[in-house]
């Protein structure tokens, strides 16, 4: 009886081509070069060749551009190759604060009511917006500033050492949410995060351990719609 084993793969890669990236302040271009190998001499670059669309497409494909089809649950609002947008209802979550000046130390580890949120992961970056009504948002639903530290004005989370899944699949959603809430908020990025009279500390101080709902009155409304947020557009007006 012949015995065969086919476990794992052994890949041997040889240097074939090089891409050189040229960049100025506004734009960049890339040249492709064959690598010429000669015996007993270091490899050298051949003359530059134009990049073809076929090459770029094959490069994108080989870098993981093919996304497996998935069944989308109700909470998914948009899905693309490297993008996923979902929403969460009002909920109560534990939050951690770790600020150099000791602000919010009394609130660290408390349970807080949360507003309905829209979450977007694109190219490995997480962005979050809040919204007022606790139901699935439509394309025209206007969004609000998510009242959290570590968020920039376009909603991007400064992730720092936060645990981040590598994928933008449906299955990765719980890990993104867990990563966000199980990390400590360390600093404010945006000037104003809430309409609450007591500011950020007053807002979360009034909510700590409370069973009541998050008041949408305290959210700072934006001209940005869900559709614009998904597309990475900022909305009609500056804010």
């Amino acid at each position: 009886m012949q015995v065969h084993l086919a476990i794992g793969q052994n890949h041997h890669f040889e240097l074939h081509e090089a891409l050189l990236v040229y960049r100025d302040q506004q734009s960049s271009f890339i040249s492709r070069h064959d690598v010429l190998t000669r015996k007993d001499a270091p490899p050298t670059l051949g003359p530059a060749q134009p990049l073809t669309m076929a090459f770029v497409e094959s490069l994108v494909r080989s870098l993981g551009g093919t996304v497996p089809a998935e069944v989308l649950p109700e909470n998914i609002l948009a899905k693309g190759d490297r993008l996923i947008v979902w929403w969460t209802r009002e909920q109560r979550r534990q939050m951690f604060f770790s600020n150099a000046e000791g602000k919010m130390a009394g609130l660290n580890g408390g349970i807080f009511p949360q507003p309905p949120l829209v979450w977007k992961v694109t190219n490995g970056e997480l962005s979050i917006r809040a919204f007022a009504v606790n139901k699935r948002p439509q394309a025209t639903t206007t969004l609000a500033v998510a009242p959290f530290w570590n968020l920039s004005d376009d909603g991007r989370v400064c992730t720092g050492t936060m645990r981040r899944p590598e994928s933008t699949t449906v299955a990765a959603i719980p890990a993104w949410e867990r990563g966000f809430y199980e990390s400590a908020f360390t600093h404010a990025n945006v000037g104003r995060l809430t309409r609450h009279g007591g500011g950020f500390e007053g807002l979360w101080g009034s909510l700590k351990g409370k069973r009541r709902r998050f008041s949408s009155e305290t959210l700072i409304k934006l001209p940005q719609t869900l559709e614009q947020f998904v597309r990475g557009e900022r909305g009609n007006h500056a804010y």
Partner: protein, 381 residues
């Protein structure tokens, strides 16, 4: 944001901000000319393009090899391999696993199988799925046995001799052997030949009347020994009980060795070992496993004729493996179960082909026939 270290009480002192620090760029360090000075795009050098001196020209990368080493470790845990066999394999995991499996089968049994049938044993981390190879999930491996050329048993003269000893003994032997082997492997026997004939008759019936004369039908039923023909449509359970009684009665007689082999095959076939057939359902194989054994009654009889016709296309499409056991090498229970499934399959084949050789030797002694059906060109495709 800052990852919360839940298991410890460590707190960052000082500035807890963990945003990426802005890097200070030194003019020229990144190849960008500073505004204050003029700089050439490339250093003064005969060759304008940058040199690749010191750049690695190749890389070797092993993917999913950890499963191979886990499998080797499992073979050692099950006492099939040891540090000496690892040394003998020169520390090569594939060579180690191959030699350990071959040693487990044993040279004598291996030679017996090689003389009679063509089996390939494959341990793999991928199985066919929708017609293409797909990686098995979560550290699983599959052990497959595929048949590349079927064995051959001409049983007519043995049945005849046993019927001469006692009426019904030959049929009892045939039916018990057939039904036991059905549990473990695919056979090509009178049943398949009759189905092929029925199919041929259906084709003929659907064909133009003027073409019907061109069909030659193998007439399988007429080619069966009378004792088999008589028992074709008997009640399965009642027949089985009669067969068992008859075989037990003649166990000490002149066919005792064959009946003992048959009993071993029957006992091995009854061991409740569940193969991982569910993994094969998504494989989209074109056909069931290739037959491991062709059973006929006479040289070039109707069954052989049907097999020769059907076997022409058997290797043209994908067939299920004869055996499939999926296991996790890290799970000792799953490893043991897979080993039991393989061991049972090999042992039943050893018993079967010992019986086959004994029957053929006996026939050669008594009739002096010389045509060797085990010649591979006469077997599957």
């Amino acid at each position: 944001m800052q990852r919360v270290m839940r298991t410890g009480s460590h707190r960052c002192g000082g500035n807890a901000t963990v945003c990426r620090q802005r890097k200070i760029l030194v003019s020229g360090a990144s190849g960008i000319a500073s505004a204050s000075g003029v700089k050439t795009l490339a250093p003064a050098f005969a060759q304008a393009l940058p040199s690749l001196k010191g750049v690695r020209a190749d890389y070797t990368y092993e993917a999913n090899r950890e499963r191979l080493y886990e499998f080797c470790a499992a073979l050692v845990r099950e006492k099939l391999g040891n540090p000496d066999s690892w040394k003998q394999a020169g520390g090569n995991a594939i060579r180690f696993a191959q030699s350990v499996i071959s040693n487990g089968i044993g040279a004598e049994r291996d030679q017996l199988l090689d003389r009679n049938v063509e089996y390939h044993l494959l341990v793999t981390d991928a199985l066919e799925r929708y017609g293409e190879d797909a990686q098995l999930d979560s550290g699983k491996l599959a052990v497959l046995i595929e048949c590349g050329g079927s064995g051959y048993l001409k049983i007519g003269s043995a049945i005849e001799a046993m019927e001469a000893e006692a009426e019904g003994l030959g049929a009892a032997f045939y039916w018990t052997l057939t039904h036991s082997l059905y549990r473990v492997m695919r056979l090509y026997n009178h049943d398949d030949a009759m189905m092929y004939e029925e199919q041929l008759r259906d084709y003929a019936a659907e064909d133009d009347e003027k073409n019907r004369d061109q069909y030659e039908f193998p007439e399988v039923e007429k080619a069966l020994p009378e004792c088999i023909r008589k028992t074709l449509k008997r009640d399965y359970h009642a027949g089985k009980a009669q067969d068992r009684t008859l075989l037990r009665r003649y166990r000490k007689g002149r066919f005792g060795t064959w009946i003992d082999r048959l009993r071993s095959i029957e006992q091995l076939a009854r061991i409740p070992l569940k193969q991982s057939r569910e993994y094969l359902e998504d494989g989209y194989y074109d056909q069931p496993p290739l037959p491991c054994l062709l059973v006929c009654f006479k040289e070039q009889d109707a069954i052989v004729a049907c097999f020769d016709e059907e076997s022409q296309s058997m290797l043209e499409s994908t067939s299920e493996p004869a055996l499939c056991a999926v296991f996790s090498p890290a799970n000792p229970d799953e490893v043991r179960n897979a080993l039991r499934i393989v061991a049972r399959f090999i042992q039943i084949n050893v018993e079967l082909f010992s019986l086959v050789e004994s029957i053929h030797e006996s026939e050669a002694r008594h009739a002096g026939t010389s045509c060797d059906r085990t010649e591979s060109s006469l077997r599957t495709a």
